[in-house]
């Protein structure tokens, strides 16, 4: 059995695999018109006729939303509330935009059915089935492919949603999503939005999975990555594709968690810097989960890894704004025209600034396979520097400082602003451009160590191989502290737990762990904290609240949702330790010596080949380490060593 992790990205589809004892990496160009082509091509190359155990991170659902290429979708809700998706929260995303327009909802047709449940779950007005049948006629006339149903208070009483679903299915509709199954939690707009996204991407996702399955053999197994950091079976993905909607960065976070643990670090801040943006997340022994994500401005309530994105990356463009300040991003030079040094661009990017200071080495860029043109950068740098009355070096360092400030801001949002002290964490750096900036960011945040794993460019695929099967269940209960107890909450949990265990029966797992959480708040507040549920759940809430907001109150607590996370332990590949080879780097690992600028001063800097570094090797700053997909800068104020898993650890 070949174990394979496949991650579909915008440009490349990455594979990492383990065939017996042998690890391998494979990259092929993505095929956006049908992403399965690249996946199948890679699988063919890696494990032709051998049985395969595949974990797949797919962007099919994400792209369907981003490119507005999902199904023709109808939204059915209570009569009088047909426009709730359009109205949203009634606010404007941009306060000072006099010509403001919202993103149009994903659904094309909005229908109201005259039925109503109240906040106790009692039916005030029962469903009129004839009315539903009339709706069916309209759906058919409008060639609707997928339907989302969300009634008020359906999480307390799902009867109407279930009945409408039945009636639609009896009338030939195969793609029906109901909010009480997708996310049975209160707040109608957010729940409806999540259900509509599910409906919108469902036919596409189903077809994609079916196509993959048809092209695999019977012995092959395939699981799909979700946004919550776990994998699920393809059957569940077909029903709830919204669970994969932001799964792209999830693989990287899981990879960081697992590789970090292996290397002895439980507290990590992940830092994934790419061409146009940077993703960061915080891991305090486990992944941070949020239920407040958005895609294209539409809320997604299903649990996801809390990943914060900022529009600063290697391709971010530097410019002087109207007030005379130097600014960087969010506009990016992208792949075309790309940075100036790629040969075509005419606007200075972060990559150009790194190159200008000598931190990117032309000869070793992408293993020397891609030609870059340092001489093109100079005149542009001089021109902009003159305009700002700076030296070109000051400008280049300034561009990096501003990009770092923006990334630092993102890192602070997930750490300091949530009550975590970054100096207790290590910075786990991956992605193409991460290594150029990580040591500086660590320095800015008081972080002592940076970990750069092997193959930092394909960490996402690695993470997929290391993921557990995770299923999330939740339910709004809205109970005040004094009207409930540990025992009675346990009873409510039982229902979710049984459902979880039932669903896990069909999965290929070694053992199951059930984690219980509650979403709680002080009665009268509107935002909940997710905290572990055990006998001390009230204390858990107070501690978490105090940690996050730096004070706690002596007030009644309300339990809004109960939440179960079922984790099924899967068979995972093992990583072996490398033998200790000593502190001294062997000669053949030193490629070159160059001059690199740090804080206006020139430093003689050795260039190392990452592939040839061995466990135990120590490197002093300033140094630069190159590998195929990334460059790692060890500034003068830092040093580094290679650990027993060949992670590079930078000490700041």
């Amino acid at each position: 059995m070949v174990i394979i992790g496949v991650d579909t990205g915008g440009t490349f589809t990455d594979f990492i695999y383990k065939d017996g004892d042998k690890w391998g990496v494979f990259k092929t160009l993505s095929t956006p018109e049908n992403p399965a082509k690249a996946v199948l091509h890679g699988l063919e190359q890696i494990a032709k006729d051998k049985p395969k155990n595949i974990t797949h991170g797919s962007t099919v659902a994400t792209n369907a939303v981003l490119e507005r290429k999902g199904a023709k979708t109808a939204f059915i809700t209570n009569k009088g509330f047909e426009d709730i998706l359009y109205i949203g929260r009634q606010n404007r995303e941009r306060l000072y935009d006099l010509n403001y327009r919202r993103n149009k909802p994903l659904a094309d047709l909005f229908l109201g059915v005259d039925c109503r449940v109240n906040s106790n779950g009692e039916i005030l007005k029962d469903l009129d089935e004839n009315e539903v049948l009339k709706a069916v006629k309209i759906l058919k006339e409008s060639n609707i492919e997928s339907v989302a149903i969300s009634f008020l208070f359906s999480f307390l009483n799902p009867e109407h949603e279930k009945r409408v679903k039945e009636l639609l299915e009896e009338n030939g509709f195969e793609n029906v999503s109901i909010s009480s199954e997708v996310v049975p939690e209160f707040r109608e707009f957010e729940r409806s939005s999540t259900t509509v996204i599910n409906a919108y991407v469902m036919p596409k996702m189903k077809n994609y999975i079916l196509f993959l399955e048809r092209n695999l053999s019977k012995e092959d197994k395939i699981k799909v990555m979700q946004s919550n950091g776990g994998v699920i079976s393809t059957n569940l993905v077909k029903e709830q594709p919204v669970r994969t909607i932001l799964s792209g960065p999830a693989g990287g976070a899981v990879g960081a968690l697992k590789l970090g643990k292996l290397a002895g670090f439980e507290k990590l801040i992940t830092f994934d810097m790419g061409g146009t943006s940077t993703d960061v997340s915080l891991i305090d022994g486990k992944l941070s989960i949020t239920t407040e994500s958005k895609i294209e401005g539409f809320p997604v309530k299903t649990p996801m890894i809390d990943i914060h994105t900022v529009g600063a990356g290697g391709g971010s463009i530097a410019y002087v704004d109207k007030g005379g300040a130097l600014n960087v991003g969010p506009e990016s030079a992208g792949a075309n025209p790309g940075p100036i040094c790629y040969g075509k661009g005419e606007k200075i990017t972060v990559t150009d600034a790194n190159l200008f200071l000598g931190r990117l080495i032309p000869e070793y860029f992408l293993g020397g396979k891609m030609k870059i043109y340092p001489f093109r950068v100079e005149p542009y740098m001089e021109k902009l520097a003159n305009k700002l009355k700076l030296s070109p070096v000051q400008l280049a360092e300034g561009i990096l400082e501003i990009a770092n400030t923006k990334m630092e801001k993102a890192l602070r949002v997930i750490s300091v602003e949530k009550g975590y002290n970054p100096s207790e964490f290590i910075l786990f750096s991956f992605g193409g451009a991460g290594g150029l900036h990580a040591a500086f960011l660590a320095n800015m945040l008081g972080i002592k160590k940076v970990l750069v794993p092997q193959n930092p460019g394909i960490l996402s695929a690695v993470g997929m191989l290391l993921s557990d099967i995770i299923k999330d269940y939740s339910l709004t209960v809205m109970l005040s502290e004094k009207n409930t107890s540990y025992e009675s909450l346990e009873k409510l949990f039982k229902v979710l737990e049984e459902k979880a265990l039932e669903d896990m029966k069909n999965e290929d797992i070694k053992s199951i762990k059930i984690e219980k959480y509650i979403d709680a708040r002080y009665k009268g507040q509107s935002f909940e904290l997710i905290v572990p549920f055990d006998k001390t759940y009230i204390e858990n809430f107070k501690n978490e609240y105090k940690k996050k907001y730096s004070y706690a109150l002596d007030r009644e607590i309300e339990i809004v949702n109960i939440r179960i996370r079922a984790v099924g332990d899967t068979e995972k590949p093992e990583f072996k330790k490398y033998e200790y080879k000593g502190e001294k780097v062997k000669e053949e690992a030193i490629l070159d010596e160059k001059t690199v600028v740090f804080e206006g001063k020139k430093y003689k800097t050795k260039i190392y080949d990452r592939e040839k570094l061995e466990t135990g090797n120590k490197i002093e700053g300033s140094s630069i380490i190159v590998e195929y997909s990334s460059t790692i800068v060890i500034p003068p104020f830092a040093k580094a060593y290679v650990d027993e898993y060949k992670n590079l650890i930078i000490e700041v």
């Binding site: 009088g80 109207k322 007030g323 507040q525 730096s550």
Partner: protein, 520 residues
């Protein structure tokens, strides 16, 4: 010399501080207005009380918070660890429900900055629940809090707190909100001190003032692009809730090179009812309009207003004197001030300026006693409407416009907490003005009450519709109805009424004006 790199670095630093204060305040507060609807603002000020950074929350607080800080600078002796509370509209406030808490930031014994936040509390006493009554003097509107040290050297003054709690309908909620506001200021103080530790106090001071110059420069560049001349516009408030009489608001904007003079002198005198605006509100409206004309990512700070001179006449509806009732000046008159400003500027900037948006906030206050808990409740919300169309695009529908940007309360959250049912919440079709570009549509919202309640509605644009521009037609006016024992009665724009269990309230909000002559 100002370094263009550090300028950008500090721009990000200061804005993160006000944003972080805002996140903390929203997440820990209790009033529906604050927690669900973001009716609050957080900001950082320099030693002179000039705004350095304000998170993008509610425009109506923009120009008015500095007045709170400036009032305190002139009138209160502050020590480290103090925080001052106030809501007096004639001493730096706007209207009574908006309670501001200001804190000085000391470094090594010297006062360097201020942080402040303002939040709309759901009740501050007065003759009707929710403190947005139909009133004829400020004494009816609620408890008037002059600048008082709610926190002294880090400790909350229990006596002041108890006094305030004793004079409001929902004291527990007030106390919770105050803790949230105090905490938000503490976060701001902490972050500013970290900034000073990192860059040194002189550097931080230098760049806080450089940021004001920066925004000023951008604003001047923008004003230069406007053709020199005088632009004038007049519109009306429909009534003050007491007398049925139009109230004129007029503006003359004089553009000369890179400066603007905005003169409201020709507006009507202040009135008996509560639509009077204090000057802070008028300043906010001017701030908002000019801020909207420059790019979104430019920091919102005192530099914006430097090239603009605002002239008002004391004792008018846009610069009211004590003891005028002012609760609706903040929410309603502020919208009309924006309407006249944009109307005047449309001549100078026909490609950018939209027709009138709904021009009201449709303030609904509902008070009563919850039969399950036997505790009094007050609920306040505002309802969105249509935005005006512009040369660029149709106006957006069912959205908050101009001086407010509060979120709605989710129906499920509302029904969990209060004894009402929402029966309708939808777009009011065809209520936008017509034209080459169509105005946005308003909203229909219908409530059914499950207990006896007192309802107060303060709304505008029920008689005089939001205007169209360049041949576009005006929008539909809004409508207010109550349904008592099955009978639907149309009500005026501002009314207060006791309703019984089973009765209904139906609000139809105005659309936005159309733009350009339709080709048909």
């Amino acid at each position: 010399m100002v370094n263009p790199i550090l300028l950008e670095v500090f721009k990000n630093r200061f804005s993160s501080i006000s944003e972080e204060m805002g996140v903390a305040l929203q997440r820990t507060s209790f009033s529906a207005n604050i927690k669900e609807r973001k009716d609050f603002s957080c900001a950082v000020f320099d030693k002179n009380g000039d705004l350095i950074a304000q998170a993008a929350h509610i425009p109506v607080h923009l120009g008015s918070m500095p007045m709170s800080v400036k009032y305190i600078i002139e009138n209160v002796e502050l020590e480290e660890g103090d925080m001052v509370i106030l809501n007096d509209p004639f001493k730096g406030g706007t209207h009574l429900p908006d309670i501001t808490i200001v804190a000085p930031v000391f470094y090594e014994g010297n006062l360097i900055f201020y942080v402040a936040n303002r939040a709309h509390h759901s009740d501050v006493g007065g003759i009707s629940a929710g403190s947005m009554p139909i009133a004829i003097s400020i004494f009816q509107e609620g408890l008037i809090i002059p600048p008082l040290k709610l926190v002294k050297k880090g400790k909350i003054d229990k006596e002041i707190l108890d006094f305030i709690k004793n004079n409001v309908r929902t004291p527990e909620e007030r106390e919770g909100d105050f803790s949230a506001q105090i905490n938000a200021n503490n976060i701001g103080i902490k972050r500013l001190l970290e900034l000073i530790e990192k860059y040194g106090v002189e550097e931080v001071k230098k760049y806080s003032s450089a940021l004001l110059d920066y925004t000023e420069k951008i604003m001047k560049e923008f004003i230069k692009t406007l053709p020199d001349g005088t632009y004038s516009f007049t519109d009306y408030m429909e009534d003050d809730g007491i007398k049925n009489k139009d109230i004129k608001i007029n503006v003359k904007i004089e553009i000369e090179n890179d400066k603007a003079v905005v003169d409201f002198s020709d507006s009507d005198f202040q009135v008996e009812g509560s639509i009077n605006a204090v000057k802070a509100i008028t300043t906010s409206a001017v701030f908002y309009v000019f801020r909207s004309l420059i790019d979104e990512d430019i920091p919102t700070n005192a530099g914006c207003l430097r090239p603009i001179k605002i002239i008002t006449k004391e004792g008018t509806v846009v610069d009211a004197n004590f003891p005028a009732a002012v609760s609706a000046g903040n929410v309603e008159t502020s919208q009309r001030i924006v309407d006249v400003l944009l109307g005047a500027l449309s001549e100078a900037l026909p490609d950018k300026i939209p027709a009138a948006s709904q021009g009201t906030m449709n303030n609904i206050t509902i008070g009563g006693t919850n039969l399950n808990t036997n505790k009094p409740f007050t609920y306040y919300e505002t309802i969105g409407g249509g935005m005006g169309a512009s040369a660029k695009n149709d106006g957006e529908s069912a959205v908050q416009s101009h001086m407010t940007n509060t979120l709605n309360t989710p129906i499920e959250a509302l029904e969990f907490e209060y004894p009402f049912l929402v029966e309708k919440y939808k777009i009011r079709k065809n209520s936008g003005g017509k034209g080459l570009k169509k105005g946005g549509d308003g909203i229909v919202r219908q409530y059914k009450f499950l207990t006896d309640v007192e309802v107060t509605v303060i709304s505008e644009r029920r008689k005089i519709p939001p205007y169209g521009l360049f041949g576009g037609t005006p929008a539909q006016t809004g409508k207010n109805y109550v349904m008592k024992s099955g009978k639907k009665l149309e009500k005026e724009g501002k009314f207060s009424e006791k309703l019984s269990k089973g009765d209904k309230l139906i609000i139809e909000t105005p659309g936005g004006g159309g733009f350009g002559k339709s080709e048909i």
